[in-house]
């Protein structure tokens, strides 16, 4: 049982670490804000969820200590991670952060211009 | 570790004082923030890191770290939060009224001769 639990825990944590490292590399290496935000939100959320599940199982299975806060945390991260990244990216775009020169399509631009026109803002 | 932490605290104090001595109000405020961080870490360091468990009772653990410095730091943290908030607001009020955030221009010595 302990070994099984250990394997489960190690598996989750290892997976989480992998995602996290990928996210970190992504944030470090990717060329512009939007791509970096992408790496940060998706990959790291997944990573942290995995690791937290690992931690949760560790405490539940090994220490016999059911900890609902971790689950709540997982849920919370699940909700907020992507939302946060979305808001961040959108604000940055509105604030005028230029996308990478290699960006293929920019769908927000015409939308923003339309809104500006509606509200009579230069 | 305590030895290293002593140096870290010293470093924080150094940076804090350096910032506090600068011209811009904002840097000064950030300096005060660093100053309180340094002070809090120092209290913890001075309480020593002996003991391997947090000072919360749980079964079978007796080797707690010293809880008293932690309580003191907690008090200090809250107080410095209040002060930081105050000084921040003061800074922007002063900027609004005085139209500058440059400390060298805030001498005001001509008023009192």
């Amino acid at each position: 049982m302990t070994i099984l639990a250990n394997i489960l825990v190690v598996f989750f944590i290892a997976a989480g670490l992998l995602f996290l490292v990928v996210a970190a590399i992504g944030v470090l290496r990717l060329p512009d804000l939007y791509t970096r935000a992408h790496a940060a939100s998706k990959s790291s959320t997944l990573g942290v969820m995995c690791i937290l599940l690992g931690v949760f199982f560790h405490f539940w299975l090994k220490e016999d200590h059911f900890n609902p806060t971790i689950l709540l945390g997982v849920l919370f991260l699940f909700i907020t991670g992507p939302v946060g990244a979305h808001i961040m990216s959108r604000s940055s775009y509105i604030a005028g952060v230029k996308p990478w020169s290699g960006t293929m399509r920019d769908e927000l631009k015409p939308e923003i211009e339309r809104m500006k026109k509606e509200q009579n803002i230069e | 570790m305590e030895i290293v932490m002593a140096f870290v605290c010293g470093f924080l104090f150094m940076a804090a004082i350096y910032l506090i001595l600068s011209r811009s109000l904002l840097r000064i405020i950030i300096g005060t923030g660093l100053l309180s961080h340094g002070a809090h870490l120092l209290i913890l360091t001075m309480g020593s890191f002996k003991g391997s468990a947090p000072p919360v009772l749980s079964d079978g653990v007796t080797d707690f770290v010293d809880p008293l410095p932690q309580a003191l730091i907690l008090t200090a943290i809250v107080i410095s939060f209040g002060v930081t908030a105050f000084i921040l607001v003061l800074a922007y009020r002063a900027y609004h009224e005085l139209k500058t955030d440059d400390m060298t221009l805030m001498k005001g010595s001509e008023d009192n001769e």
Partner: protein
Amino acid sequence: MTYFLWAAIIIVALSIVALVFRLVKGPNPSDRVVALDTIGVALICLVGLFSMLIDTSFFLEIILLLAVLSFIGTIAFSKFIEKGDIITRDDSR
């Protein structure tokens, strides 16, 4: 198991260092905020792993708290970046 956790902690710590590098480098504030957000996430992992390492559940409270704060921080920063102010008095006007 301990060694595994050690390794894991060090990996997380190193990725934090990488993120800090991004945080310092910028180039614009949004990048820094993204980096900070990700650091928050990494910290959550670190705290979880650390509690496993020293076998105590008292730090688990911090996990959710970190998540909450990191979210609030991100929202606040993004609003600041967008509008230069994080609180608007009356949006309907």
